[in-house]
Structure formats: C-alpha cells, structure tokens
C-alpha cells in the first residue's frame, strides 16, 4: 500500500461523488447541454485524469510535510544557535513548545510589511527573481521520497520519478540564475557586485558537488532515489566515499551561503548582498528558501550517502530518513557557528584548489570500487 494507491483511492471516491452531479445535469438539461455535461463526467472518470489528479495530491502531501520540516529546521537553527551561544533562543512565542511559533510570528510579520519596489528597478526581473528562486527549491522537495512507498510515484507499481536525484540536482542548480537576476534588477551598484559574486561562488561550488554525486550515481548504477537507497542496503555509500560526503557538505555550505562562505553579510561594501533591495514577504521568501535549500541539501546527503531510510525496523522508514536529515543539519549548524567568515578570494580559492581535487580523488575511489565489482 504505497502513497499512489492511497491517493488514487481518494481521488476515485471524490470523482465518483462529483460525477453524480454531472450525469444528473446531463439528463436534466436539453440535448446539447446535456451531452456537454455527460462528456465532462466521462472525462473525469477516465483513467488519465485520475492518475494526474493523484500525482497532484501526492505532490501536495509530500511538499507540505517537507515544508513543516523546514519550519522545524528554522526553529532548530535559532534554538540550537541560542544554546550554543549560551542564551535561551526563542522562548516567549508558544513557550510551552519551546518557542516554535516564533517562525509563524516572523512569517506573519513579514506578510504585513510594506512591499517597496525601487523606482528605477527593472519591474519584471525584480518580481520574477524570488519566484524562480523559491519555485526551483520547492521543486526539489517534491522529488525526494521519504521512504520506499512514501514518495511521489507515477503509477501503482510505485515507480518513482525516473531520474529523481538528477532532477533534484538540476533544480538545485537554477538558483544562481535567480540571484543574478535579483542583483541586476534591483538597479543598485552594490547588489550587482554582490549578485555576481554570489552567483560565481555558487557556480564554482556546483562542480565539486556534482562530481561527488556522480561518484554516488556510479556506485548505485541508477539515477532514481529508490535504486540509490536500495543499493545502500548492506553498506552506506558514506563509508567508502567519506571524502565525498565531506566535500558534499562543504559545497552545500557554499551553495546555501552559510557562515564560512557567507558572502552577502560579509562584505565591507556590499552591506547586504543581493537581497538588499527586497523587503516584506519577498525578503521572507528569500530567507525561507535558504532554509528550504539547506533541508533539501540535508535530505540529499542522507539519501545519497547515509543510506536514506535504511535503519533497524523498530522505527518506521520515513522517521529514519527524517532523523538522519535532522542530524546532518544539526552538525551543519554546529560547524557553521564555530567558524569565522572566509574572505572573497579565499572562497573561490578553496573551491577550485581544494575541493575539486578531492572530488576527483573521490571519483577515482568510486571507479576503483566499481571495477573491482564490490558494488
């Protein structure tokens, strides 16, 4: 019983319910009106429509669960940082649950903030940039399944999105485009420089990231999430490809612009980087998306390197997947809060001179393992 059958059942029940109305209309109304509603009824009950609506419902469920987890991540980000900084962190808003409602309070605050569009900014680009940014990030959430039978599947057999991991990484790589657009469109010299630098940093860290992921694809032999996690049944890929895991995490830090590679707030002259001219919920979207991307990164890391939902059966698979994602994110934050910021030219230096060779070494290890036939 996987998510597809569950959703298919619901949709079927719903469609039958609504069809009574169409067919009743079809009988009551005069001739060509009636035929029209009969056609609608038949179309609704047709097989294609049902499967499309099922997939739509599946995506809705998976993405909503992911977004709730992202809210949890923001809460961890603040509470955990607080305790590491030796203070309380969010406490008063919903204090019985440790200040969890602080995120919702911030969201609402950002909603009511006035939306200001700079006068000479390029309206189209200015408005489009956040849409692309958050759109591509939510796309990633939909593709990552939580377990064997809890993920977006295209038909009853539970066959997931054919090249799920590849599709996720492709969506992951759209962000630099929106950052460039945001930086350029807000018509401010400093955000332009900031946008270019952030885009350069992201692109330059994309390559080592994809190299490590390539080594995982090599070992797993397929692009789909289910096959990759299935291949990690006896041994997690993180153990042989340990260097890959480290490189993946460091590149993730650069992708998501967290402290060691925190470009926007770092610069003496780009005070806020490419998000300077955004206010209200647009900035809220940018801020929320950085956490979405770190959740996506954490989920990818668990799926590719830490054996996704494999774990002793006492805990259901989905929970295992989430536990590992949370642990990856917590270690991520721990590293973030203990390191100072890296200078701009050093960022690119590390990217090209340090991480790329490591990624290549990791790929060689993967090839060696594959050719020896252990995987």
């Amino acid at each position: 019983m996987n998510l597809y059958e569950f959703c298919y059942g619901i949709i079927e029940w719903l469609v039958n319910l609504v069809n009574h109305l169409w067919y009743w209309l079809g009988d009551v109304l005069p001739w060509w009106f009636g035929d029209f509603f009969d056609a609608v009824g038949n179309f609704a009950a047709s097989d294609g429509h049902l499967s499309v609506m099922t997939i739509f419902l599946e995506v809705l469920i998976v993405v909503i669960i992911a977004l709730v987890n992202v809210l949890n991540f923001i809460w961890i980000f603040r509470k955990f940082m607080g305790r590491m900084f030796d203070f309380y962190g969010p406490y008063y808003v919903g204090y019985r649950i440790g200040g969890w409602l602080q995120n919702l309070a911030d969201g609402m605050k950002l909603f009511v903030k006035e939306i200001i569009v700079p006068a000479k900014a390029d309206k189209m680009g200015y408005l489009l940039a956040p849409v692309i940014y958050i759109g591509s990030s939510i796309l990633i959430l939909a593709t990552i399944p939580f377990s064997e039978n809890f993920g977006v599947a295209t038909n009853e057999s539970g066959a997931y999105v054919p090249a799920g991991a590849l599709f996720a990484l492709a969506a992951f790589a759209i962000a630099p485009f929106s950052i460039l657009l945001a930086g350029w469109a807000s018509n401010n010299k400093y955000t332009l420089i900031g946008g270019m630098r952030s885009a350069a940093q992201m692109m330059s860290y994309e390559i080592p990231l994809l190299m490590t992921v390539a080594s995982v694809f090599l070992l797993a032999g397929s692009f789909g999430f289910v096959d990759i996690v299935g291949a990690q049944h006896d041994i997690w890929f993180g153990i042989p490809l340990f260097i890959g895991l480290l490189v993946f995490l460091v590149c993730l830090a650069a992708e998501v612009e967290i402290i060691p590679f925190d470009l926007p707030e770092a610069e003496a002259e780009l005070v806020e980087g490419w998000t300077t001219e955004y206010g209200g919920m647009r900035f809220g979207m940018f801020y929320f998306t950085t956490t979405i991307r770190s959740y996506a990164g954490g989920a990818l890391a668990t799926a590719l390197f830490l054996g996704g939902w494999h774990g002793p059966a006492v805990i259901p698979d989905e929970i295992w997947f989430l536990i590992k994602a949370y642990i990856v994110y917590t270690i991520f934050q721990w590293m973030t809060w203990s390191l100072p910021r890296v200078r701009v030219d050093q960022i690119l230096g590390i990217g090209w001179k340090r991480l790329l060779p490591l990624a290549v070494i990791n790929l060689m290890i993967a090839v060696a393992l594959k050719s020896m036939g252990w995987f």
Partner: protein, 360 residues
C-alpha cells in the same frame, strides 16, 4: 574597473564608532586610504576649562568609554602632579588593581568586536560573557558598570567592599581557564589564521615614525611598555613580562593582546597580595597652584597623556589630552595600502579603535 572612492562611512557595520574611512579601490586592492575623524567631537578640552577639578573626573571617564577608568586615573595623576598631593599606599595598590582589571575588560571588548567582524558570532558572545564577570566586580566596587567615576584626586572613592579579594581571585582563576579555551576557538580554526596571518603588515620603522604606541607597536617588534620602562604608581613592585611579537601583522596584534590579558591576571594577583591596610584617600586642596602637571599612563590602546595647566583657581586653565588612537588612525593609510577591501575589516578591527578619545 576604474579606481573609485568607496566611503566606509560613519554608519557602517564595519566601523566601531563614528568615523569615516574613504578608500580608493582599484578593482579589489586598496590604492589609497583617508581616515576622517571628528564626528564625535564634544569639545572636552573646552568643557574642562569651565568645571572645577573634581567635576572633571566623570568627564574624563567619558573620554574613552571602553577603558574609562584608565582615563580618569590618568587625569587624577596629572592633577596630583600639579597640586603635588601625596597619594596613600593603599590607594596606589587599589588603583593598579582596578587599572589591570579595566585592561582585561577593554581587551575583551576589543576581542568581541574583532571576532564579530570576522564573522565568529560565538567569539563575540563568549568574550562578552567573560567580560560580565569583571563588570560585576566593578559594579560592587564602584557602583557603575562602564563609567565608574572611581579615582579621586588624592586616592580612590571607596574602599574595597567585604570579601572583594576572594571574588577577584575566583574571577581571575576562572578567566585564566577561559583564556586557554579561546586558544582553541580562535587559533584552532584555520580560517581565522587565514584571515589574520600576513594581513595588515606594519613595519617597525613605520610604527616608530608614525608615533603608533601600545599593543600595535609592541606587535611590530618594539617591546616598549610604559609600566615596565617608566613605572608610575606602584608598578615597580609588580613583576610581569612585556608581551611583544616581531611580525607586526594582525595575528601578532591579536597575540600581544591575548598575552597582555594573561599578564594583567598575574599583576592583579600580586596587587591583591601586597595591598597594605590603611587610608585610601587624602583630602585634596580645592585650588591648584599656578603651574603645569603632566601624567603618562600605559592605556590598553597605547600611551595616554594629560597635560594640565593650573592658574591658582579651582578650575584648570588648560587640559590637553593625548589620545593614542588619534595618532594610530593617522597611520592607517600606511597599513591598508595593498590589501584587499575584505581585509579592511580585519586590519581596522585589529587597531582596537575607540572614537571617544580620538575626537575628544
């Protein structure tokens, strides 16, 4: 990119306090730098000419609010030199104790700002937490946290509160443990070293010629410390060694200040041990004779001097204040040229700027 002037203006996240650094940038590297000061000029020297001698002590506190006790003590020493008032022995020891504690507090505030600049939020919060321990001690001794108004002409305002020695010794041993931990936090991470070693080089000749004093000078190889070379108050009885390094870059300045904090702990312990009983204050005359008074003190930021001219009345005729940071900032172009714009944060943070005393 053509050369353009970037204004790291008065309201900039990088500058601590109100001053403006105009930097001419060619692409990424700095070609020329022009510091501009004067945004916080309150005309303290003119104010002093309108107030009586005891009234100026709270004003002297507000010269450099980061290390206010050293400045009011410096003012009291200058006026005592003018009125040649003999300060009792116990008052001198209390003054040395509080100056060294103030040095630790001032260096901790510098370390917090420096770590915050480099992006290490944790560094900021931990140093501020340690600073609270000493601020509580000051609160019980003098009654205030930042501007103490504690030294008086002819001694100090209050005696030590009950079991102040025990609390101070406990605070010192606690702080020495924490100082070791900072080694891990700051020098442990390679990124901190990457941002500091070899950045903001100040050669020995430039430092001497530009009149730079204090930890910045000692980090460039000249081990000159007023407390050791021209000891005032009771610094003769204290034995401590002067922290100095050869390299003259940001890391050396950081290292010198960390060692100075360690030395200050030793001095405080000795001061507490050797402190005699007895009077802590002498009645100071109301009117000062005609003449001049001069005092020189090793401020946490450099060599602070006050030159007082008395004219027989109860108000000083002229008070001239030498602020170490006013001179160190004039040497900023020498240090900055040739480095990246991203280094300005580290270099200027390393100089431990305090704008209150620069603009007077």
């Amino acid at each position: 990119m053509a050369e353009m002037w970037i204004n790291m203006g008065p309201q900039h996240p990088m500058t601590h306090g109100l001053w403006n650094l105009r930097v001419k940038v060619d692409g990424e590297t700095i070609v020329d730098a022009q510091p501009e000061v004067g945004y916080l000029h309150r005309g303290i020297e003119k104010l002093c000419e309108g107030k009586t001698y005891p009234q100026i002590i709270p004003l002297a506190d507000r010269l450099c609010y980061g290390s206010s006790l050293t400045w009011s003590h410096l003012y009291c020493m200058a006026v005592e030199d003018l009125m040649n008032v003999e300060v009792p022995e116990r008052a001198e020891y209390i003054r040395v104790l509080t100056i060294e504690m103030q040095r630790i507090v001032s260096h901790l505030m510098w370390l917090a700002a420096y770590a915050g600049d480099l992006g290490l939020g944790v560094g900021f919060v931990y140093t501020m937490r340690e600073r609270e321990v000493f601020l509580d001690l000051f609160q019980s001794l003098t009654g205030a946290r930042i501007t103490y108004n504690y030294p008086r002409i002819g001694g100090v305002a209050h005696d030590l509160p009950p079991n102040f020695e025990r609390d101070t010794l406990r605070a010192i041993s606690f702080f020495e443990g924490r100082l070791k931990e900072y080694e891990d936090l700051f020098e442990g991470s390679k990124i901190f070293m990457m941002r500091n070693v070899g950045v903001g080089l100040l050669k020995k000749e430039d430092a001497l010629n530009q009149g730079v004093t204090g930890p910045t000078l000692r980090a460039s190889g000249v081990s000159y410390d007023l407390r050791k070379d021209r000891p005032y108050s009771v610094y003769e009885e204290m034995d401590f060694n002067v922290a100095s390094r050869k390299e003259g870059d940001c890391y050396a300045r950081y290292r010198v200040r960390m060692d100075e904090m360690y030395e200050s702990c030793q001095i405080m312990k000795q001061a507490l041990k050797k402190m005699p009983k007895g009077k802590w204050r002498v009645v100071a005359p109301r009117n000062a004779p005609v003449g001049t008074g001069l005092a020189r003190v090793e401020d946490p930021r450099g060599e602070g001097m006050i030159y007082v001219v008395g004219d027989g009345s109860d108000k000083p005729y002229r008070v001239k204040i030498r602020s170490p940071i006013f001179v160190t900032v004039s040497a900023a172009p020498k240090i900055l040229i040739g480095y990246k714009v991203a280094d300005v944060v580290a270099i200027m943070g390393g100089l431990d700027m305090c704008i209150g005393e620069t603009d007077r």
